[in-house]
C-alpha cells in the first residue's frame, strides 16, 4: 500500500522531447507538491496544489506545467527537455501546512 507513488521511477530521454511524470497519493491529503533534487542533492520546491488549486509556483521555466485532475493526483509535464533538467523529481503530499510531507520514491530523469 504505497502512500505516494510516482511513475516512472527512471526516465531517459533526448533533448527536445516532451515527457510527463505521474504522481498519486492514497492518504486523502489535500495538498500535493513537486520538488527537484539536483546532482548535489539540493532539494527545491517547484509547485504545490491544494484541492486542485495552484498555491505555490516557484521560479520554474514555463516548460514545466503541473496538472491536477483531482486532489489525489498531480502530474508534471515537461516540454522541450534540456540537459539541465536532468535531476530527481519528487512528488509529496500533506494534509495541511505545518505537519510535514510524505514523499514519493522519486523519478530520476536523465536528458541526453
Amino acid at each position: 500500500d504505497t502512500a505516494v507513488s510516482q511513475t516512472p521511477k527512471y526516465l531517459v530521454t533526448q533533448m527536445g522531447n516532451d515527457k510527463s511524470i505521474k504522481c498519486e497519493q492514497n492518504l486523502g491529503h489535500d495538498t500535493m507538491y513537486w520538488y527537484k533534487q539536483d546532482s548535489k542533492k539540493f532539494l527545491k520546491i517547484m509547485f504545490s496544489y491544494n484541492n486542485k488549486e495552484l498555491i505555490i509556483n516557484e521560479t520554474v521555466p514555463n516548460r514545466f506545467s503541473p496538472k491536477s485532475p483531482d486532489k489525489a493526483h498531480l502530474n508534471l509535464h515537461i516540454n522541450s527537455l534540456e540537459l539541465g533538467d536532468s535531476a530527481v523529481y519528487f512528488c509529496a503530499s500533506s494534509q495541511r501546512g505545518g505537519v510535514g510531507q510524505y514523499f514519493g520514491p522519486g523519478t530520476r530523469l536523465t536528458v541526453t
Binding site: I45, V88, G98, F103, P105
Partner: protein, 116 residues
C-alpha cells in the same frame, strides 16, 4: 527570503554512540515549522521529526531529539544509540504555511555514516 544552513557536509559516528547534526536558519517570520528529513541510499525522503516554532519544548521521536533555540535560530538534531540504518543524508527544512500548503526550504544536507 528564508535560508537554511547545514555547516557539516559529512559526519561519521560509531554504532551505539550519539551524534548531533547542526542547522541554522534565517527568517523574519515568527510562526513557522522546522523539520528534519532523512534520505537513505534508497532515495526515499522520510520525515524524522518536526518542531513548531511557537512551542518551547524540544520535540523527541524515540532516539531522535532536537535542540531548538529560537533566538539563536538554531535547530540541531541529536541521534542517540546510532544504528547502521541511520546512515543517510539528513536535511534540515524550514516551513511556512501558505494557502493550505507548506512551503519548505531545505538545507544542503549532512551525509551521516554510522560505522560498525
Amino acid at each position: 527570503a528564508q535560508t537554511v544552513t547545514q555547516s557539516q557536509p559529512e559526519m561519521s559516528v560509531q554504532e551505539a554512540e550519539t551524534v548531533t547534526l547542526s542547522c541554522t536558519y534565517d527568517t523574519s517570520e515568527s510562526n513557522y515549522y522546522l523539520f528534519w528529513y532523512k534520505q537513505p541510499p534508497s532515495r526515499q525522503m522520510i520525515l524524522v521529526i518536526r518542531q513548531e516554532a511557537y512551542k518551547q519544548q524540544n520535540a523527541t521521536e524515540n532516539r531522535f531529539s532536537v535542540n531548538f533555540q529560537k533566538a539563536a535560530k538554531s535547530f540541531s538534531l541529536k541521534i542517540s544509540d546510532s544504528q547502521l540504518g541511520d546512515t543517510a543524508m539528513y536535511f534540515c527544512a524550514f516551513g511556512l504555511t501558505q494557502g493550505g500548503s507548506e512551503k519548505l526550504v531545505f538545507g544542503k544536507g549532512t551525509k551521516l555514516t554510522v560505522n560498525p
